[in-house]
Symmetry: C3
Subunit: 343 residues, 3 copies
């Protein structure tokens, strides 16, 4: 059985992190926390005076500080790189959600599905015919792995993930609760009296080392595949339309919508509530600030803002000036008054 809580002491942590101890070495510490926590067994990190003061106010159990930081009444460990030290703590504190190895007796695995003997399939999961679940995969309860879907080695499907059909997930990818891959794209045509459905028969390909957030949707292609490369990190509640192609190592934040048949290059970074319209191309190394929308191609690397997307400097200046419209109007009116039209 996996242990529920790591138990450390201040002294053991200091030694492990190669840091300098201040306080009682025997102080028990159970978990990493943030500076605003008042957990007496929590250990936070603070890289600046501001965060240290927050930690002192909340009286967190202990704090990791950069060497040379001022003394504090809190138990502390002084290290070269507090952020990296904290990252090590986070890694030690990870506990996978519980899941027994093998296939849970309540799961429904169709004849003709292949589940690797080292994979775990939880209660009430459904794995359809032709599906392949790779070595070390973790399929949590209520997941639906549809016909001919492939889940690569060591990938994780949290509860309630749905893969419709012909969805291919790479290795070491993580799909959060309620993500839906392979639902029909939004394809219809108007025949004069009603909207007729264009059958959506394609698939989805998601690369290695990707992460898809809770309740995000990646639609199946009309034909062919909707394709995301390796290392893409998709946040919660993101919509990615049919036949869209995204390169490698992108990041797309919550509530962003990508239309159909769009093309995103490598390392595209979209902040929250952004939009890319249908059939639009976004080039490599393009970054969109929050709520930026591209209705036309954006090819040049750089940071963009606004709807429509423009280079952030231009867009910021126009935004600023928009707040000065009342002033602009009154200055104009003043000039007009001084020079009336018909003297």
């Amino acid at each position: 059985m996996e242990t529920n809580t790591p138990t450390w002491t201040l002294g053991a942590l200091a030694e492990m992190l190669g840091g300098e101890l201040q306080g009682l070495p025997d102080l028990p510490l159970d978990r990493p926390v943030d500076c605003a926590s008042s957990d007496p067994r929590g250990v936070a990190f603070a890289e600046s005076e501001e965060y240290l003061r927050e930690a002192e106010e909340s009286q967190v159990g202990a704090v990791i500080l950069p060497r040379g930081m001022r003394p504090t009444s809190l138990p502390a460990i002084y290290v070269d790189q507090p952020r990296l030290a904290f990252l090590r703590l986070l890694n030690m504190a990870r506990r996978p959600l519980p899941l027994s190895s093998g296939i849970h007796p309540s799961a429904v695995v169709a004849e003709g599905a292949e589940v690797h003997p080292d994979a775990s399939v939880g209660p009430f999961a459904v794995v359809e015919r032709g599906a392949v679940v790779g070595r070390g995969c973790r399929i949590y309860p209520f997941c639906y792995v549809g016909e001919n879907c492939v889940v690569g080695e060591e990938s994780i499907l949290f509860p309630h993930v749905v893969l419709y059909q012909d969805v291919r997930i790479g290795a070491r990818s993580i799909l959060h609760a309620g993500a839906v891959l392979g639902a029909d794209g939004f394809g219809f045509f108007w025949d004069g009296t009603r909207r007729v459905k264009v059958p959506q028969v394609g698939g989805v390909v998601l690369g290695d080392d990707c992460e898809v957030g809770a309740m995000s949707a990646i639609d199946r292609a009309t034909a062919g595949t909707t394709t995301l490369g390796d290392g893409n990190k998709i946040d919660n509640l993101v919509q990615i339309g049919h036949n869209t192609r995204i390169g490698d190592h992108g990041a797309i934040a919550a509530l962003t919508g990508i239309g159909g048949s769009s093309r995103l290059g490598d390392r595209v970074l979209l902040a929250g509530q952004c939009a890319v319209a249908d059939h639009v191309t976004v080039g490599d190394d393009v970054t969109f600030a929050g709520r930026t929308a591209a209705g036309q191609d954006v090819e040049e690397p750089g940071i963009y803002l606004g709807a429509p997307a423009r280079p952030i400097r231009e867009a910021s200046r126009a935004l600023l000036l928009a707040t000065k419209l009342p002033e602009l109007f009154s200055r104009l009116r003043r000039l007009e008054k001084r020079f009336p039209d018909s003297p």
Copy 2:
């Protein structure tokens, strides 16, 4: 067994509401409806001439009117406060979704989980080790109550709710279908060639008397907890990022995104499609009109509009003037023509 339909008569309703009857006392009425309904057994309320006329057009079964309202051909009950009277009807018409008491035989409750004998756990629910389900809770089908999660007394999890791990729900809170609490926050760093995941090991705390809408996500903290106080009402499809803290009695409407490590005070009210960026503070008693976005702190109580958020009066004026830009340009051009640069 719970009854499916209340059955009232116009007379009984009038008496119960302390109102004055007009029409046949024996008229059967089954349910509250709105004024646009033509349900002959529905009873609506109308506080104004406009709604009364709508009710007359749709020929609803009966209507609750304020005393002094004009006569109508519809069966009617005249009361002091039609809205409050209608609220009483709504309360009488509530029917909890069916759920047998106790633990359904198909549910999977781990050893070491505690389910109060007065709680109900529906078909195909999963309750993991260390979880606690309190007195009077209603856990509907397909819910996943993860490791060490706590569901407070009389809270309701509608079908398909997912609590990952270390998620603490207060008393009398309602989580709607598909809500996901405790999924990993969107935390990565770029190591020069790829995005590396920052492990997310914290929890979520949701207070008493909260409501979380269908398919809304509240991410677990990187470390420590993402915390919402008491009385918060979250609509559908809302995203709340990791380590965010929200005070008491807030209301957040659909499709709003709150970034990570944000701080919202008490009684913050965000209309639909709003945004609060990472690390931003929004003070007590701040209201955002629809689609308002805060990229920086908004401390003063009041109503805000726009992106970036500004006091609604300023923002409305600038919005209005933005529609007059064509006029502005032509007025300027006129002046320029009259005074050419190089005479």
Copy 3:
């Protein structure tokens, strides 16, 4: 058992489509794909030089072209209307997600529910008392068909659909994974110290031939019904508030939010991330471009843009001029300098 892959030959396809063949008639082709596909057994269509070039670069298996198009080295079929020919292929390539006929032994169907003998109910589905599942319906795993819900003939509920209570779905409608119909509307009032819930006791009516995308929400009415007419196509992650009424043949794209008690006419078309505020009316044949928001009634047919929504010509012009604000300010400053206030 349904067959997994159609197998065609180039010659058979050409004959079936009434087209002119170029290439080996025996060439095996398995599936429709898009022009960017390099699938040697895929067949794409290209209506323009641009797409034909893309197909040649990706070396797709074969391509359907309009008669008169230039020769290509790819195997090809020349037809009158490539798009219609391709639509026929799509229809032939459809494979319903697997589902055995009848009620799966693991499904929980309450006493008093009616499931038509020709309907299919998958593993772990729940059908509550009073529910009616019509002829030919396909209810996939993990669906929750709540009390007194009705699913019309030949409608499809993909995995994880939730119908709360009193939800009525017409015939031939499709609900995608995770769609939630009938969750409580967002109704509260402030009693001076806290937000009090207004019980939501109404239902939802969805017409015939509708489609609701993955994780879209249509809330139940406070009283009466939230009503969508026939032929409505709703994309993923859309929010539709309580008591809203939508006519026939609308289309609403992803991440759009419709408030409560709104009225949308027939053939309303909303692109992605649009918004309609509470109690707002949108007339027949109104189209909103992406991210348009209506805070007030929009009655006239036509295309609208912006927030607030304005006729697209006006709104586009104002948007364009907004990008010229820096120029405007400098032109004004120039005039002011030439005519200083106090000479």
